[in-house]
Structures are given as structure tokens and as C-alpha cells.
Subunit: 160 residues, 3 copies
């Protein structure tokens, strides 16, 4: 007798530190509850997955411009509110440390340990000129079909 | 024997080009997978549906002000990130064209061809002073009850 | 014979007047349709629940700073679009009154009358330094586990 696990899917569209935190807290919580969890990274959400280094790539001018303007990885993201020229993110990181909560990079690590499926949207990677070698290891790559395949079996489906 | 189709509903609250793109890509994908799809347009999401022309209407001053300040239609929307005084949207449109992806107006056309149900929220139309003749043809009109009727049968329900 | 009610859950992450309005309109609508409704307030969404007064608390400096910078309660929230240095919210409140729609504080009152479960996220209360006596009465307090308990039984689950 097979027991089907509940499924949770999250589209992470946003590239804000606070929204990405919320996404990963829900995702990690659902995985701890034994849900099968997929996070689908699209548009600015892909910046969460960028490596914190300059990776040599062969790109057009617009793609290069996007590459330079967008934050390189989870630790560089801004806030959706109270950014205050970078002071807001510092304040949040300070209180996270003070309360022994997990930072965004730690939440991402935990997600990988919990085998949360992380799918990078290939269509928006093309548009923003992001290449696989610029993103974290261990990702899957897919389009809207991959997302809908999971979401149409999902109990909790969120767009963040 | 009747087979019930899966249902997908999206509330499009946002009036950003990139978020509206994401909404229409998911909606069109779900329709291609034979889901019954409803997009419910509320608040700034209604601007996606505005005609690209000035329509003569009889409005109060505040409603006129909203009318002038809000973008007229899908092609005029800004980005949720990296707006850069209008340069961001131009860059996105450039890479969409380069990669033979669909622009937002094309995604809306495709949604109409696929018989995606597009419902404009009458309550926020009242608040923002938008009138039926200012919006695209072929829409339905309804309130939160219409939305909940569909969403409570939905498998994938998103708020964008 | 027990009939199980449908469940609707909303994560209110945003602290914008317009997004909070949308959340409460959907929540109140679902409650009127006899759904069991939970709103889970996290991050800036907690500001919706702040009392409109200065409450004496014993806080660290960063928590005090967050306390002063964040809006005190539903009536002080800004808009997600067209804020225009405070003019936008005034315009919205003007048209709400004109069309006999409900303001955000009235929508919150209605939610309480309809026994909508309102849960404040304890983890982000810690991070932002918000204390129970600063928030409205009649709330429940919980973390991501409380949210997932409800959401994994939910028919309509939204992140706003």
C-alpha cells in the first residue's frame, strides 16, 4: 500500500531577502512535515541562486547589463520594505543573528539537505542572460510545464 | 461519465509587466494542459486590461486623476524591479524579442484564444474609476464571490 | 454525519494598505461562504495589527528603530503603488468612502466578527521586536507549523 505524500510548491518570483526568507521558511517547514516540496525560481527569484562570485561567461550586452545590475546571490539581496540604502538588510541580519534564527544562505543550505527540489526557470534564465555555471550546484532546470506538473498535484501552492 | 477538468485560478493584483508576464505564462501553460483557467484582475492588475487609447468617460476628479496616473494597458506597465526610469522595461522587451518569447500583449491574446476566463473586479473598477469601455473586449465582470466560486474548486490558486 | 468545511488560508506578508485590503476582502468573502478562514500575519503584514498608539515596551536599539520606522496599524499603511508621499492612500480612502466600501480597519473588524482566525507569526515578531501588547487583542500566536497545519487542509491558500 503506497501512501502519497502531500505536496507543496512555491514559485519564488521575488528577489527580496525578506520574501525569499519567507519562501524558504515555509518550504523547510513543509519538508519537515514530510511534504514533497518544490521551489520554482523565476525572474528576480533566480538571483537567490547566483553564486557570490563573478563567473566568466559569453554574453550579449543587455545580458551583461542585467548580470551586473542584479544581486549576486542570497546574501546580496535587498528588502521589499525599508531598504534604506542597505541599512535595512543589515538590521535584519543583525536581529536574525541575535535571535539565533537562520540567515537566508543557511535556509538554502537546509533546503538542500532536506532534498527540496529547486528548479530554475529556463525561460527567464534566457531572458536575463543567466547561465547554469553562474547558479548554485544541484539545481534542476525546467519551464512552466515542470512547474504545473508539480503544482497540479500540490496541496499548498504559493506564489511569492 | 463526466471527467472534471482541473482548475487553475490567478488573482492578478499587481500592475507590473514582469508579474503580469508570469501570471499569463502560468495561465496559458495551465490552459495548454487542459485546465480550466480563470484570471481575476483586481486593483493595479486592471491596468493590464486597459485599452491603449484615451476613452471619453464621465468621471469625478479623483477618478480622473487615477485614470491619468495609471498606465494605459499592458504595453505601458513598468517592472517590479529595475525600472530605471523606463529603461528596464525596454531591456526586457528587447530580450523577449531576441529570444522569440511572447510579449505581454501577445500573451494576453493567446489567453483569449485559449478561452481563459478573464474577470475584472467590479469593486476595484469602482474605486479606481475604471469603466467597461476603457477595458479590453471579451471580459467578464464580477466581485469576490465570482472569484471564490472558482477558487474553491481550484487545484492551483495563486495571488500575483 | 459531520460535514467538513472548506478552508481558506492567507499569509499576509505585505504591509501595504491595498494588499491588506485585498487579503481581508477575500478572507471575509470566504468566511461569508462558510469557509474556515485563517490569516497568518508575518513580516510587514504584522503592521496591519499594530495598535494606533505608542505602547511602552522594553526593547533593544534595533527593535526600537524598527518600531519607530514601521507604521502603527492598518490606517497608517502606505500603498504598494502610487504612494505619492501619502497622497495615494488619501485618494484611496476618499474613493472607499464615496463608494460606501469598507476601509481596512472596518474590514479587520468584520473579520473579527466573523471569527476569522488571525495568527501573528512569533518568529518575525521576535525579529522585528514587536510584542503582544503592541498588537490588537484577540489574536493567536504561532509559527510556520501552525500555518502549515491549516494550509495543508486548505482549498484556497494564498500568499499576499
Amino acid at each position: 500500500m503506497e501512501i502519497t505524500k502531500k505536496k507543496t510548491t512555491i514559485v519564488l518570483f521575488s528577489g527580496d531577502y525578506d520574501k525569499a526568507m519567507a519562501a524558504f521558511i515555509i518550504a523547510n517547514g513543509a519538508a519537515a512535515y514530510d511534504h514533497e516540496v518544490t521551489i520554482f525560481f523565476t525572474f528576480w527569484g533566480l538571483n537567490t541562486l547566483r553564486k557570490d562570485e563573478v563567473v566568466k561567461t559569453n554574453k550579449g550586452i543587455i545580458e551583461k547589463a542585467f548580470g551586473w545590475m542584479m544581486p549576486r546571490g542570497a546574501n546580496k539581496l535587498g528588502l521589499s520594505k525599508m531598504q534604506f540604502a542597505g541599512m535595512g538588510p543589515q538590521m535584519i541580519k543583525h536581529v536574525i543573528k541575535k535571535h539565533n534564527a537562520l540567515t537566508l544562505p543557511q535556509l538554502i543550505e537546509l533546503a538542500q539537505e532536506q532534498d527540496i527540489k529547486m528548479v530554475a526557470c529556463t525561460m527567464t534564465m534566457d531572458l536575463l542572460g543567466l547561465q547554469e555555471e553562474e547558479l548554485l550546484d544541484g539545481l534542476e532546470y525546467g519551464g512552466v510545464a515542470a512547474y504545473l506538473g508539480d503544482a497540479s498535484e500540490g496541496t499548498v501552492n504559493l506564489f511569492i
